[in-house]
Amino acid sequence: MKYIDQQLVVKRMNGRNIVNTLFKGLFLLATLVSLLFLAILLYRIGTQGISHLSWDFLNNFASRFPEKAGIKAALVGSLWLMAVVAPTSIILGVGSAIYLEEYAKKNRMTAFIRTNISNLAGVPSVVFGLLGLTIFVRALSLGNSVLAAGFTMSLLILPVIIVAAQESIRAIPGELRDASYGMGATKWQTIVKVILPAAIPGILTGSILALSRAIGETAPLIVIGIPVIIQFLPSGVMDTFTALPMQIYDWSSRPQQEFQVVAAAGIIVLMVVLLLMNTVAAIIRNKFQKRY
């Protein structure tokens, strides 16, 4: 006996295809809506602040006159911040990832570290601010230095980097490892000469995305209390500094309407820095994708 009536199947086909098309449209719509949000956001920032963008804006210190106000201290400060955050977080992140992927035995300690990392990834940035204030600023007497803020931000993005590095290490085919061991290489040689070079694209992309989070974070800086009124550039990691989001936040709370435009211009600078970082990440990702 036949259970499946081909006639009926053919008849129902039409309806099923319509449902398929309908939902395809809905899913596409969802994608477009998110892209639309992004477009509106970028458009508004652009139109608000573009008029204030100029070389002077990049090259001036902050000023009480909106037309003279520049972003130099904040921009350079953010770069200094990155100069601390990038090496610290990448060394700690990649080191942890190597330990977890290559050395850690499957025991409770390892499971604990893993759970801990994924939990840490969800801890709000304000809480990291409280940690940084208590440990780095106060207990270790680093004050409002680049170092104190840099360490705080490093811890904040550490879990993201660890996970990205773990994933890219895990993605390296076992055959490459085998090949290296098969030549009589030791474990550390294999890690340094084969695994890390092959994992670097993934590690870099993950790290850049994490760093771009660090460069835009405001809350921890507020909690740490880094200054905004500053007319010089830091000359070392122990110097005080200010950073882009702090400066933007400060401008936006000024009474004069003109400062809102300055703030918007500051946002453009921040967004350009972020987009540059994202683009670099995307290029690395696409360029090195699946070599093996």
Partner: protein, 308 residues
């Protein structure tokens, strides 16, 4: 004629170095890996020490069961955490309502319908949304979303839970979309092909095969995104107001746990006052909340993982 390679290898120094390196590297790496554990310990200790001081001044029961949050009151300061929790949940609820359908919809589109090229371009572009500094979102909520909402619903106040909720939702869309897409595209291609070969439409494949198979990953991504929404600070600080309230009203000013911490950090409370210690108690509550969400996420992704 040079000596054979094996002879050169035998002569080469560094054998002993190798042994030493092999011994010490794991120790060093273990220490590095412990940094993240130390960080958690640091956070817990920092928060707990100050929280304990807070509880010597405000009974813990008042904090846990009180329904009025009036730290600055001139008459009798009250520290019942619930209004802040309710405020946080309002924003989180709206954000979830916005982000889950859009995020999962986009994920399905990207993993099931879009061509490889579209996916390769759209995914990183969407991820930009997650990288935009939250302070930028905050102004977007306050100066764009709120006025737009007000033009449709005049009863909405300048500070409300809806506008920051929507914007937090926008911010977490890429998290859900990206992680869910990862989960769905890691459902092996051959399983998908099995379904297509039976005459399924793509929609049927998505709903009946991919989605169920990727469910644990999708739920985990949603839970993580929610935990991010709970911890979001600047958007709510700017656009949600600072009125701790415990009611069902979404149109008026509220206060969340995070925005309270920022309010006090930027504010006037004297060092050593009860208000100063209260931010640690609130921070600790927040920490517990996100911790629970994260444990839930990892439980979900373990418990509901499909075997294939």
């Amino acid at each position: 004629m040079r000596p054979s390679v094996q002879e050169m290898i035998a002569q080469s120094k560094g054998k002993r170095n190798k042994k030493l390196i092999e011994k010490f590297i794991p120790v060093i790496l273990f220490l590095i890996a412990s940094v993240s554990v130390l960080t958690t310990i640091g956070i817990v200790v920092t928060l707990i020490v100050e929280t304990i001081t807070f509880f010597t001044r405000v009974p813990i029961t008042d904090f846990l069961f009180g329904t009025t949050w009036l730290p600055f009151s001139n008459k009798e300061a009250m520290f019942g955490i619930w209004p802040l929790i309710v405020g946080t949940l309002k924003v989180t609820l709206i954000a979830t309502i916005v982000a889950v359908p859009i995020g999962i919809g986009a994920a399905i589109y990207l993993s099931e319908y879009a061509s490889e090229t579209v996916r390769r371009v759209v995914k990183p572009v969407l991820e930009i949304l997650a990288g935009i500094p939250t302070i930028v979102y905050g102004f977007f909520a306050l100066t764009f979303v709120t006025p737009v909402l007000q033009s449709f619903f005049p009863e909405i106040k300048i500070f409300n839970a809806i506008s920051p909720g929507i914007v937090v939702g926008i911010m977490i869309i890429p998290m859900i979309a990206s992680l869910s897409e990862d989960a769905m595209s890691s459902v092996p291609k051959h399983i998908r092909e099995g379904a297509l070969a039976m005459g399924s439409t793509k929609f049927e494949v998505a709903m009946k095969v991919t989605l169920p198979a990727a469910l644990s990953g999708i739920i985990a991504s949603v839970v993580l995104a929610i935990s991010r929404a709970i911890g979001e600070t600047m958007i709510v600080s700017l656009a949600a107001g600072s009125t701790p309230k415990m009611d069902g009203d979404f149109t008026g000013s509220i206060q969340t746990m995070t925005s309270y911490i920022v309010q006090v950090s930027k504010g006037d409370a004297g060092y050593g006052t009860t208000i100063y210690y209260s931010i640690y108690a609130v921070g600790f509550t927040l920490f517990v909340f996100t911790m629970v969400m994260n444990i839930l996420a990892s439980y979900v992704s373990k418990r509901f993982r499909e075997e294939y």
